[in-house]
């Protein structure tokens, strides 16, 4: 098996005249969870799209395993690499099963009903994401977390070795963010899938990623494991955020404590206001 699931050489990506990404060499280790980090507009999403063949390259080459991305037919690519965009969209009346079945499109033979393998893959994706009870519900009736799981199931039904997820946790509350990342982590550890994610929450990235890629202004500033790369100087350089890094009290990963909040610092000096008890209201 190839050591690198995705490799890019001399990558140049941009929008009409402005060059966003210009990287000599970029590698994503196979079977690992890689996370792209960076401030808004740093080129994370553009890089991810370029690696998935969704954005034209101005130069360089991308290799998926040992296949050149530019020479890979769309169908074949869809069997090897699945991509979940930041704002996926489907008709609200579509049911979960129908959405997940669309993930089988790259395998379906034209004009024929789904094969036994197609149905088995849909079943497996539904049970992996724990969606069996909701399988006949339409997307419009689902909560944000359930809907995101349904999309993940659609991508899983593609049965690709590589999964690219662009900000999969945005719009989810903290506990649903953990549910989703736990699920992704499980898929990686149990099935050896290679994952490339864009995340905004640094602490989630430290906890779940094997490999971090820090971007600023379209350039890759640093790469490496969370333990090796998490230091306050780098975070300040990349996000302009003053912070402190401590060991996580429970998990074996760094924990970031932002020190940018002015409000809390002022409250240390001032006596805290008495808590408002509302037991008579929320009985």
């Amino acid at each position: 098996m190839n050591k690198h699931a995705i490799r890019a050489t001399n990558l140049r990506v941009g929008y009409r005249g402005t060059l966003l990404i210009d990287e000599g060499r970029l590698e994503f280790p196979a079977g690992h969870i890689s996370v792209l980090l960076g401030a808004n507009g740093s080129g994370k999403s553009t890089l991810l799209k370029a690696l998935a063949g969704l954005h034209p390259l101005q130069g360089g080459q991308v290799w998926i395993g040992d296949e050149n991305l530019a020479a890979t037919p769309a169908r074949r690519l869809a069997q090897r690499l699945a991509f979940l965009p930041q704002h996926p969209n489907a008709p609200e009346t579509l049911t979960v099963t129908e959405l997940v079945m669309l993930g089988r499109y790259p395998y379906r033979r034209p004009f024929l009903p789904p094969s036994r393998e197609d149905r088995a893959a849909v079943e497996e994706a539904l049970s992996q994401t724990d969606l069996h009870d909701l399988s006949e519900r339409s997307l419009g009736t689902l909560s944000g977390g359930q809907r995101q799981r349904a999309w993940l199931a659609m991508v899983l039904a593609q049965q690709s070795d590589i999964l690219m997820l662009d900000e999969p946790t945005s719009y989810l509350d903290l506990s649903h963010q953990y549910d989703l990342l736990n699920l992704i982590w499980q898929l990686n550890r149990e099935q050896g899938k290679t994952l490339v994610l864009v995340l905004h929450d640094l602490n989630l990235a430290f906890e779940f990623a094997d490999h971090l890629i820090y971007m600023k202004g379209g350039r890759i500033c640093a790469q490496g494991s969370p333990a090796a790369t998490a230091n306050p100087e780098l975070i300040e350089e990349i996000f302009g955020l003053h912070c402190e890094i401590r060991p996580h009290p429970q998990a074996f990963c760094p924990l970031l404590i932002p020190l940018a909040g002015q409000r809390n610092r002022r409250q240390v000096a001032m006596p805290a206001p008495p808590p408002v008890l509302c037991s008579d209201k929320c009985d």
Binding site: A52, A74, R75, P85, N89, L94, T95, L102, T141, Q158
Partner: protein, 336 residues
Amino acid sequence: MVHMVGSTQILEQMNRRAIMAPYLWLLPPVMGLCLLNGSIETLSLLLDDSHRQLIVRVISELRLPRVLVAALVGASLGMAGLLLQTLTRNPLADPGIIGVNQGAALAVVAGMLILPDLSPHWLPLFGVLGSVTSMALLWLLSRGTAAIALILMGVGLSSLLSALIGCLLILSETQRLAMVMTWLAGSFATANDTVLLTTLGWSLVLLPASWLLCQRLGPLMLDPLSSRMLGARTGTIEFLCLLMACVLGAVAVAAAGTLGFVGLLAPHIARRLHPPQPEKLGLPVLGYGALLAMLADLLGRSLLAPVQLPAGLMLAILGVPLFILLLLWQQRIRGA
């Protein structure tokens, strides 16, 4: 909370299963009604032995071609609407709104006025020429922009082409003007065996082909990035969809003029009653399109009989309120 979820589920199941394929059990009675109703009271004469032969001839030679042409035209327009709506991911798209039908109409009117002796067999070809030209223009102008730009430019193009048709009609002074005007308003009154044979010939190829095309449109339900990542060859599919919509619209226009609203209404009705996948909407859309056109024609010739109202006018008068009701219903369900 539990009750709410329960009731929406029941509503969905009703939408999906209980009213199974209404277009199938509506088609035969509507077709029968269309054949029997008209400016001549048929049923009583049919029972009378002395007039039976005459009335059978009226039905088979006058009404049957008319009803069949209406059904084929309606089905074609409905399908063209479904293809354009799926392609642009916008429920507003319709061959009549984005100027495809007007392009076809301009070419057909030009053909009718410049070559008065032209056989109706050739009209669809003129229509295809006109609609493909207008669509190609639209495609070039809106290349690289969002899908809504194509629709907006299409609305402009449609007005421009309508104006050109108006100019052409005023400049030409033939006795055929009245006939051309009626045809332009969307009428099946001129439908005869020749029109039927021409339309049937094109439809026998186009309708099955467009249904097959629908089978491959599934990924277009999703956002553009997701559909590309599923390995759909979106470029080829988009080209085929546009071409098919143009040709379907042109054949319909050549047979019955610019019949509005079928292309908009039929997919909306189908989506309310059937699952939203294009592969499952193909047949229902053909059915509802045919039903709408036949009903409009029936009402047009029987409501104010012996005055004959063109089906196009009936569709606008009855179709628009129906369309608005449909939209309100949709909003209500989404809001609830």
